[in-house]
Chain length 506, copies 2
């Protein structure tokens, strides 16, 4: 997927300035509403040869078009995200939309059923990518890259039963930043959390919290609680549902669906209620059962170091060590994290239930090795920004506050009050285009002046050039400001310079 | 697909400045070479449960990853293309990667066999989009949009037998600009050609020529030559191969494969040899047979008007009326065009054979109606920039002239000669990041100073901040220019300001 330029801070501020907080409940309405696209029954000549089949014109289930308004918001948000990734020295990378089917198997645990396969039309068996992480690992292994800091923005596809009201789509953008390579512990991990903080604060969408945990601590906890090792991943993905389900329901799933002994589930329950800062790390070092487990100790030691670095980065207070955080994906091996917006800081739990995560990631040291013939490992840590959720929030706020976004950047409109003046208008606008000025005219031989001026007002075009017979004769031209309705008369040959001056001043 | 910001002219100039013309033959070598990716046989734990299956790690046939170097080139070229589209008042739009299979049928003529279908996993039958035009028409019909000027940059997928040496991939970017709506004749059509000229000149990749023809003239020509109407589209797509095959071979295909009468083929042959400017239009008005055909006359009248507008736009000399231009796609109904780079202006034919088109488009007034239940028509005209070919040319030239592109934008590197100085480095770099400065450090507790300085030279990072015990004590810091190796000592608290000053100066 193509990348973006740096976002002019001004433009962004302008976009968000009037946008205040609006409850997320409203937000969900918006998402569902702009998914209710106009539909039309097609009874026409689609298959002229066969008998006409009634069928709905629509986008595939769980997908949608992005309107020009939505594109403007995306461009701004993605521009901000990319500029942050570049600020941290990331390179761009792109991979194909589909991969060899075999490459994607055994990577996503229970979610593998959500992978889109392509039809076998002869040749290779292919699947649409499910995320950007596995393709990145495949790229590293395939090209024997041992070290890389890259970002990737692109669409991924998942056959979710689309509860679009929750903003879940079957096609959506991912924005990933990953650091591959063997480095001293927790330095890249800390930078990933710093990046999440920079982006989430930069968006000015309210306060947020990042939950952190470690797969080794989870597995060690499972072990000491008496979960059979064969069930680790399955129990993990049950636990992952804690942000959507209550502990009671998760426990029920563990006991019934995953046939876990009730007392084992309860032991897990004792732990996963706990969260806090580095103090909780210290506390668990003292835990009689956990402190017996080698994996847990490794995890705790790293988390302690991580919090030290987070403090140096000045973001420690944004991070909460949360034993309930599991993350669904199989490939995580170390620290994992997930960010949520808070309506008010003291309602973290509740809010995260309502809203879901807006950024997440973790360490996956084994994934690249799975693709390497000799199993050579390339440790990786990364993050993914939940831009779709962020888009929904911003779009909804703009809706609530009646924000109007310009969907074009046209600076000058070429108008005339005269009949049969198309030739002059065409000559003039070509001159503006060739000077790099963004200009439009109406595709009519004889448009009414009023129609032309209304077009400018509706489209928010700031300047109008007006040319007529009289002006032609005198070698002059009228330049009109749409907002103030002021008109000045200038020499024809000074037009481009004058326009450029005005545009640079504004 | 995400969109791009305006390309800083300087950066672009810098990129292309040293790039001179290199023969296209060399270009093809490059494309094939960077498609020969490192491959690795996977004998590892991909399917730990099953017996290990040897299998190659690769991207699917006809696809490739885009390296950071390639991404930089793309970002610049796409930025330039988008800024031109915006200069002409276009809005952004995005559509899903796949569409309902039925929507794509009967749109692409013989090429329909190249469409990728998704596997039926229950639910709708889906296909990957083949171009961006049909989804645009679907969007207009579905949302009852009667007027729209939009651009769309995104990947499309075609199951070509990938002769990658010719730069043909199964996944590639399209950059489309289209004008939908009922307007006075040929004004939007002329603007599309103007846009193609602005982009192709802006790229500074050598001289180019745009061939123009009209489907009505083609059909009329077929009629007067005695082609049965049922064969129009089939003969059209044979004719379309004239840029890859000689007339002799095309004629052979028409006669044998499409069972066209030899004398009819020869009559076509007489016409399709001809090309020229507006003069040829006048000439054909006089042609005894063609002038009898109503469709031909309509087409000629529009072409005459088109050339009038192209003259006003100052691009008439770039356009050649060429009766051999057919365009493969079924949906064109009026003017069609195709741009080729010329090695030298007097070798147009030869060069176009070697190189293929780098931009193309035309008018398709019937497509939207095919999606509208009541068959309401929305006339459209548009263009598509062949960015993949353009990428290949630029990449090859950079290769030939050893151009090095920076793949990161890092401005400052934070270094230390001291052991155990990680904490200070982390505090310092966080300060830079928070000030919006692009900064990196090595993820090591105790890196060697030389290693750190080499990293800056290799990555082209202009500035290094050096901090050590002595500096700490005195509350100062060293700022070093990597290029000149000059070091200045400044007050610690002035660091950010000084860096920002230097960056804005450079």
């Amino acid at each position: 997927m193509p990348q973006l330029g740096l976002l002019p801070r001004k433009a962004w501020a302008a976009l968000l300035s009037q946008i205040l907080w609006s409850p997320y409940t409203a937000c969900t309405r918006a998402v569902s509403s702009h998914s209710q696209v106009a539909e039309a029954v097609l009874t026409s000549q689609l298959n002229p040869n066969q008998e006409k089949s009634d069928f709905i014109i629509k986008t595939p289930k769980g997908t949608r078009d992005l309107s020009p308004q939505q594109m403007v918001v995306r461009e701004k948000i993605l521009g901000m995200v990319v500029s942050c990734f570049k600020r941290h020295g990331a390179k761009g990378l792109d991979t194909p939309a589909f991969e060899l089917k075999e490459l994607l198997t055994e990577k996503y645990g229970e979610d593998s059923v959500l992978i889109y396969d392509l039809k076998d039309q002869g040749g290779e068996l292919l699947s649409l990518r499910y995320d950007l992480t596995v393709p990145f690992a495949r790229y590293l292994a395939m090209n024997k890259v041992k070290k890389m800091k890259r970002y990737h923005i692109g669409k991924v596809w998942r056959r979710e039963s689309p509860t679009i009201a929750q903003g879940r789509y079957r096609e959506f953008y991912q924005c990933d930043f990953d650091i591959a390579g063997q480095f001293d512990p927790m330095i890249p991990d800390a930078e990933c959390l710093k990046i999440m903080c920079e982006i989430l604060s930069g968006l000015q969408l309210g306060d947020f919290l990042i939950k952190v945990n470690d797969r080794r601590i989870l597995d060690g906890m499972f072990a000491v609680c008496g979960v059979p090792e064969s069930k680790f991943r399955a129990i993990c993905s049950s636990l992952d549902k804690l942000d959507k389900m209550s502990w009671k329901d998760v426990r029920h799933e563990m006991v019934t669906k995953k046939s876990l002994a009730p007392e084992v589930a309860d032991r897990i329950g004792d732990y996963v209620q706990r969260h806090g800062g580095v103090s909780l790390v210290e506390q668990l070092f003292q835990d009689s059962r956990l402190s017996q487990n080698k994996q847990v100790l490794e995890g705790l030691r790293d988390l302690k170091l991580l919090f030290e670095y987070l403090t140096l980065f000045g973001i420690a207070e944004k991070i909460s060590f949360d034993l309930s955080l599991a993350r669904g994906l199989d490939y995580y091996t170390g620290v994992i994290y997930e960010a949520v917006f808070l309506q008010t800081p003291n309602q973290a739990g509740e809010e995260s239930l309502r809203m879901g995560s807006v950024a997440a990631g973790g360490r996956y040291d084994g994934l690249v090795g799975m693709f390497d013939p000799k199993g050579h490992r390339v440790p990786c840590v990364g993050l993914s920004i939940g831009v779709e959720r962020i888009f929904s929030i911003v779009e909804q706020r703009m809706k609530v506050f009646g924000e109007k976004v310009r969907t074009t950047e046209t600076q000058v409109f070429v108008a005339t009050p005269q009949k049969n003046f198309l030739q002059e208008r065409l000559k003039l606008i070509a001159e503006l285009w060739d000077a790099g000025i963004k200009a439009e005219l109406l595709y009519k031989n004889n448009p009414k002046l009023l129609t032309q001026l209304h077009y400018c007002e509706n489209m928010g075009i700031p300047l109008v050039v007006i040319i007529g017979e009289q002006e032609m004769k005198e070698g002059i031209i009228k330049l009109r400001s749409v907002a103030s309705k002021e008109e000045v008369t200038i020499k024809r040959e000074h037009l481009v310079a004058e326009i450029q001056k005005r545009l640079s001043d504004s």
